[in-house]
């Protein structure tokens, strides 16, 4: 077997098993850390597929941003980190869930296998180009995709204003109550 193939399967396993962990874990902090492992696996897959910029971005955005935010949320809000659902006394049957997920899996696999994917030239001959992606991405963002780039800036401005306003609002209320 090729080195790449083995690495691919190793990374796939390293992505999927933590995903099961995310599903199974009862402690919500553990869930977050399983998610960390799963996201790292995805980053690894991106890097393996020559999307190195995307892989590093995955680490930066998901692990450095979103995961830290999730952990923050948990630490600021939860007293009891163990997930307790209301109907914990009843023994929930796993079969319904299993059935639903198997059906979804079947449908997805059927659709994926039955589709004529539009495979680009780079992958078709089985070799990856190994070209760096950061520079072309940056160029595209500031030439062809300059309009979306600017829309995203406006979008972020809106988010910033909204977040500041909502956070500020709580503060004003506290001040008026005091």
């Amino acid at each position: 077997m090729e080195f790449e193939t083995i690495v691919f399967y190793a990374l796939a396993v390293a992505t999927v098993i933590p995903a099961f962990g995310v599903m199974m874990a009862k402690d919500i902090v553990r869930v977050a850390f399983w998610l960390l492992a799963s996201l790292s696996g995805v980053a690894g897959l991106f890097i393996m597929l020559d999307a190195d910029f995307l892989g590093v971005t995955q680490v930066l955005v998901y692990i450095g941003g979103i995961l830290v935010l999730i952990l923050f949320g948990i630490m600021m809000t939860h007293r009891d980190p163990v997930l307790v659902s209301a109907d914990d006394d009843r023994r929930r049957s796993p079969f319904t869930g299993l059935l639903v997920s198997l059906m979804t899996f079947g449908a997805l696999m059927g659709v994926i296998l039955g589709t004529g994917w539009n495979v680009s030239g780079g992958l078709a001959n089985g070799k990856l180009s190994g070209e760096p992606t950061a520079a072309p991405l940056g160029k595209a963002l500031l030439t062809d995709y300059v309009l979306p780039f600017e829309i995203v800036s406006v979008l972020l401005l809106v988010v910033l204003c909204g977040a500041a306003y909502i956070a500020r609002r709580g503060k004003d209320e506290e001040a008026s109550n005091a």
Partner: protein, 412 residues
Amino acid sequence: MGDFFTLVDWAVEDAGFWGRLIGVVAVWAVPITVWVSVVGLFSIWLERKVSAHIQCRLGPMEVGPHGALQTLADGIKLLAKEDIIPQGADRFLFALAPILSFVGSFVVFAVVPFGPHLIIADLNLGIYFLAAIGSIEAIGVIAAGWASNNKWSVFGAVRAATQVVSYEIPLSLSLVTIACLAGTLSTIGIVESQAGWIWNWFLFRNPFMVISFLIFYIASLAECKRAPFDLPEAESELVSGFHTEYSGMRFAIFFLAEYAAMYVVSAMGAVLFLGGWYTGIEPLDSWLTTSPVLGNVVGALAIITKAFFLVFVQMWLRWTLPRIRLDQMMYLCFKVLVPVGMVVFMAAAFWQGVFGAPDLGGLGSKFGLAWFVVVVVGTTLWVKKTIRRTKGYASANFLEHQARLGHDVGVS
């Protein structure tokens, strides 16, 4: 697989799976581990000596010449200590946390070059990778704080996460400024565009880079949780912050990670602003091509010296400055460093566009020299003035202090 494994591919072209796996371990893991350990041991020793001398003490003197082997002895002691996991702790996360923290500072070593070819992975994403990996350390700290099941630890962890996440923004802004000047994200490429005399270094490239360097340095202090940004482990408030419950080898790993991170940010400071492996004296640097072995040795020495100088400044600051408050920390980040960083970025980009890069023969090259002179003269005058102002004060204190301890003030 991109350039993450270029060196491996080059070393073991047709070695099969196991050969390549061994290649990865040999080329990535072993050198980094050795170098991290050496750097960690030396930095810890340096910190103790620097702190001692700043406080008019001698520091460790017993083990080895000037206590040089003291850290090693301490390490052995820590290894032999009992491994305590507090009751009610999340055992798995408790064990995972130091590893995550260590990996965060460990992996970055791969993109720190010692010479044009002395690098573990010349990623074309070098400094972007640096910015991304920094966050993993934060996750390790959060895990440690949470798993300890101790409120001081959680406070420390939350503070650490706040600080690290916030200061990533000014840090990234100064990285972006550098990327704009160098036109590449690769650390090798960045250093190579600073070739030539000392005024070609990015620090002197235009009038704004000094500010950019200050932003980088302050942000890197915060990223390493070093004083005056040591709020996460503020011993007067939080016992010891997120690693309160850690002992023995796990504590040692946290400790090592902290010092490794200090070295890494300093080395990156050297790479980004201070010309990396270039000595700043053109004839000396030409050895890199004429006699590669000598040139590379000189280059590696140059970058290590620069890095340890910056590490020394970090220590100097730690033993000189008081800790800042939490609100001051946030104020400094979002209301000072981020806006200033943005202005500097725009100004630097504008300057680059108008005057061009020095290697293009633009006005920039003449400017670099002039600005270098201004910076050097200005700094010298300022230092002299400061020394003159504080001289009597410092020496009087010193004499008084020594006299009170009943020491002989001579050279010992």
